[in-house]
């Protein structure tokens, strides 16, 4: 593993079908990457980009499924070339092994059986190559998402791999963290000591770093894009801004501090949420964006200040004077709907139809009304064909649409969404933004917590940018 020459990648009529699926995840892919070349692999979700990367990393054996055509790395089967191949995946927390930065970078070198006296020099070189700003002893748990991913990259580079594979390495990071990782990649592959293959839907950001772009087609095959190629612009909904309606929710100096912590997760903040408007909450990680969303959604009570609901929201409540976080859950879901960052956290049933009927049933609608509401939503959001499917088996884009639909099922006045466009490709992004624009046109108030500048441009009427209160680095 210590020092492989840049490897060539060759795929001829390659395809792969997972053992548990009937459809091929990827097929008819022809691709030739020269040693030291830097290639971006893009394509819609479900086009098999990640499958291809896993295959090149030698992580897909006969147990995982059926393979067609030829695939080689440096002229060898990927499984045999594994010692010279390094991979970086999406989630840094599912890749770091050790508690200290230096130990983590050393992990791969130890696995390769490198003698201890040669390990530390290689570790220091790798940390330097990615521009890691802290020492070997720095605790990995105290790093931001971007720095964690930088460290993962250092661990991948420490063995001087001939082939470096990056599987959406910035998908879970804020824009600053993503830029940090791209800078580190640029710096690390500048000497062309490794062949680089990056998989990402966000093609634009990687264009300055790669020699060319290859697009995988969902129906099979790969398209080679020439120089000067740029992704098609995003489809944006046409919108007519509306005047602010009745005030639905407001926060007065509302802040939150976790029990046992000295530093507030959210410093006192003022927010007004009127009907028919969209508020985007932006800012770096660790500034309390998600915490603010939880306060406005009535899921947590502020530890300082208060959150109050306007008369339109409190109408019909037994005790209208109570703040939203003390409302009963069934009353809450008919007034404020929340969509969490990870849809799987919210799914409670085994079928898409049941998932949509659950909210109405819980908030007192009868069986018939609940099932009518579910049908209507499935029809409108293009989920009708999946009525019987298990929510956990849906694709990322479908899961996101379903989680928004579950929040809409109880017809709330306010919709609070945490990173709704996270992990969406261009098509699912546009569908989702169109769906949210519709909600706004129907007079709902939207609160969007997001890092995505495009969604802010497309939807926001008002922007609240939270800034770090101290110089301390927050959790990812």
């Amino acid at each position: 593993m210590a020092g492989s020459a840049p490897a060539a990648v060759r795929l001829t009529g390659w395809g792969f079908r997972y053992a548990s699926r009937r459809a091929w995840a990827a097929r008819d892919v022809d691709l030739l990457v020269e040693p030291g070349e830097r290639v971006l692999l893009t394509g819609a979700s479900g086009s098999g980009k990640s499958t291809l990367l896993h295959a090149l990393a030698g992580l897909l054996g006969p147990d995982e499924g059926e393979q067609a055509g030829g695939i080689t790395v440096g002229g060898q089967q990927p499984g045999r070339a594994r010692a010279g191949t390094a991979v970086v995946f999406q989630d840094p927390d599912a890749q770091l092994v050790m508690t200290r930065a230096g130990d983590d970078v050393a992990f791969g070198l130890e696995n390769a059986g490198l003698p201890p006296d040669r390990i530390w020099a290689a570790v220091d070189a790798a940390l330097d190559a990615v521009g890691f700003p802290y020492g070997r002893e720095h605790a990995t748990a105290a790093l931001s998402g971007g720095q964690k991913q930088r460290l993962v990259l250092a661990g991948a580079l420490a063995g001087r791999p001939g082939l470096l594979l990056l599987d959406e390495p910035t998908a879970q990071l804020d824009p600053d963290g993503a830029a940090l990782v791209r800078t580190a990649v640029a710096r690390a592959v500048a000497d062309r000591g490794s062949t680089l293959l990056v998989v990402d839907h966000d093609a634009a950001a990687w264009l300055p770093l790669v020699d060319r772009v290859v697009e995988l087609r969902a129906e099979g095959g790969a398209v080679q894009h020439g120089a000067g190629w740029a992704p098609a612009p995003l489809r944006l909904p046409a919108r007519t801004p509306r005047p602010a309606g009745e005030l639905l929710l407001r926060a007065d100096a509302a802040g939150f501090t976790h029990r046992g912590s000295d530093v507030p997760a959210l410093p006192p903040t003022d927010v007004a949420v009127p009907a028919g408007r969209t508020l985007a909450v932006t800012g770096p990680n660790g500034t309390g964006k998600s915490t603010l969303a939880l306060l406005l959604a009535g899921l947590r009570g502020p530890t300082t200040g208060r959150v109050t609901a306007g008369p339109a929201l409190t109408a019909g409540l037994a005790r209208p004077g109570r703040p939203p976080h003390r409302w009963r859950a069934d009353a809450l879901v008919r007034r404020i709907g929340t969509v969490f960052q990870h849809p799987e956290h919210q799914f409670l049933t085994g079928r898409v139809r049941d998932e949509l009927a659950l909210g109405p049933l819980r908030s007192g609608a009868g069986d018939d009304a609940a099932s009518r509401r579910a049908d209507e939503l499935m029809e409108r959001l293009g989920l009708a064909a999946l009525a019987e499917a298990n929510p956990f088996t849906l694709s990322g884009g479908q899961q996101r649409r379903l989680s928004v639909a579950t929040a809409l099922a109880t017809v709330p006045f306010v919709l609070v969404l945490d990173e709704p466009t996270f992990g969406q490709d261009r098509d699912t992004w546009s569908d989702l933004v169109a769906l949210l624009a519709e909600q706004q046109d129907e007079g709902r108030a939207l609160v969007l917590v997001t890092h995505d500048a495009a969604v802010v441009d497309a939807l926001a009427d008002d922007v609240l940018r939270l800034t770090p209160a101290t110089g301390a680095e927050g959790p990812a």
């Binding site: 990393a57 594994r82 748990a141």
Partner: protein, 256 residues
């Protein structure tokens, strides 16, 4: 609520300079002696020696000490209380035997507290794999899993809140509470298995399953002071037994 076990790199304390396997080895003397001793004097002497080591493990301040040992103290008190209640029935003699038992529980458990307070988990894994040939796959796999524990605590909170956001709340009904707890626990388990699988894939992608004999960058050395620590532990045990025998307080009970 703060957990008595803290994860992540431990701040070094004087006792950290003793190799973890020497600390575990010392248990090899202490455990058998405590398990067979019946009186009060033997566990009391051993406990006194252990208490003397607490400052070396960075547990000198009462608050820090209490934070690490409250479950243990609670357990010892529970054992004593049960023994007072039912002591006569089982032939014991109430308070004296209850106190002897409580002291024994404390003396048995305190070495664990010392080990946890003074040992970095990574150093423990290094020592176990280097000196005792514990499988590296097991030791470093466990270490990686340990890193995920604090993340699970955050995930638990999120799942609870997400359920309220779906209109699910137990209210005052204890059965609904139990069902919500079970549902949340299951969702957490699913999430943990998914993340664990991804972590295992990432580790194998870094050659963890390559079959090459793993080297160890940090190493783990046994030094003279480790032998001294073991000798000290043996000496304390010997002393405790001798004093008890001399004082007529040595009533060995096999198997406790």
């Amino acid at each position: 609520m703060s957990l008595p076990l803290s994860l992540g790199p431990a701040r070094p304390v004087p006792l950290s300079s003793i190799n973890p396997v020497a600390q575990l080895g010392a248990l090899g003397f202490v455990l058998p002696v405590l398990l067979v001793s019946g009186g009060l004097l033997t566990p009391l002497i051993v406990l006194a020696a252990e208490v003397c080591l607490l400052p070396a493990a960075g547990l000198a301040r009462p608050r820090a000490l209490l934070a690490r040992t409250w479950p243990l103290l609670l357990g010892a008190a529970g054992v004593a209380w049960v023994n007072v209640l039912f002591g006569d029935a089982s032939g014991g003699s109430g308070w004296p035997s209850a106190i002897a038992l409580a002291v024994r529980v404390l003396a048995l458990a305190l070495p664990g507290v010392l080990l946890v307070a003074s040992t970095d988990p990574v150093r423990l894994a290094d020592a176990l794999t280097v000196h005792w040939r514990v499988s590296t796959r097991f030791a470093y796999g466990a270490l990686a899993a340990l890193r995920l524990v604090p993340l699970l605590a955050t995930e638990w909170q999120t799942i609870r809140l997400a359920r309220r956001a779906r209109g699910i709340e137990p209210g005052r009904n204890p059965v609904a509470h139990a069902r919500l707890f079970a549902g949340t626990a299951f969702a957490l388990l699913v999430a943990a298995v998914r993340r664990g699988t991804r972590l295992a894939t990432a580790m194998d992608a870094r050659g963890f399953d390559s079959g090459v004999e793993r080297s160890n960058a940090r190493g783990s050395r046994l030094r003279l002071r480790d032998a001294g620590y073991l000798g000290g532990a043996a000496l304390v045990c010997l002393l405790a037994v001798l004093v008890s025998v001399r004082a007529g307080d040595w009533h060995p009970v096999l198997g406790g």
